[in-house]
Symmetry: C2
Amino acid sequence: MKRNSRLSLALHTLSHMAGDPDRVRTSADIAVHAGTNPVVVRRVLGKLREAGLLSSEKGHAGGWRLAKPARSITLADVYLALDERLVSGNDTDLEPSHCSVETGLQMRVAEVLEEIEESLVKRLRETSITDVHPKSCSYCDS
Amino acid sequence: MKRNSRLSLALHTLSHMAGDPDRVRTSADIAVHAGTNPVVVRRVLGKLREAGLLSSEKGHAGGWRLAKPARSITLADVYLALDERLVSGNDTDLEPSHCSVETGLQMRVAEVLEEIEESLVKRLRETSITDVHPKSCSYCDS
DNA sequence: TCACACGTAACAATAGCAGTTGCATTTATC
DNA sequence: GATAAATGCAACTGCTATTGTTACGTGTGA
């Protein structure tokens, strides 16, 4: 896997779950299907649980399932749950320039990028994870 | 500097230039103002030149300037010039899964992310670099 | 000829992330 | 109670992308 793998993995998994919401899946199962590692799966899905999108149960016959109706989960929920800030970086530490004008410009640039970030989230809010699920999905039967 | 520094640096520089389009700036000047290195500046600005946004001149009294009216340069131009693909990764090598259904789902996820990517570019196209320039900018006089 | 600036290659340093291992904890089942 | 199975979490290892830096070649005006 490469870049944006977290978001990709999350959507992949949630899309599966949307197809068969009652089924409980283990991180091992998911890892096999996603072609990755159980620990990586738990790391990503843990974020989604913190955000209230998924629930997990320990112990025998434990695993993961949706914590709310698939229809109500948008891509924005997933995006925000993963703390992804693709456009505006997490630049909290913009070092103060010697020139006050530079500082003003830096803040303005950050401001614009923040606006774009918000636009992105707004767009993500328009798509549900059920929209990601393919029309013909025989996995739901397997 | 941190993440997204290329986009940030590019907007920073272009915003400056928009304020005083006739002035020729050296990569050294820009580097000082942006708090980075001349070579880094040339790397980023080189991309913008390839895209026809900037022009550069070698030799004595050489440097960088806008290649077209600031008003006509949008954030999308900058974004695309830098080959940034923030949402949909450059995943050209999605390894074929053992399961055809998985492959279908992976493609569907990539498809959705591509749609989001296009929405982002569309949004970026609505903002010009002149919109990034601060209202009160004394730099234009310096 | 000289100073200056871009163009580019090569390298080091850093940061983020996937992958992996190991172990503690929780829980259903025997 | 013992056992198997699952999450939770910490620590560690590579891998990759990016920035920063140095060095040198090339072009250009004074």
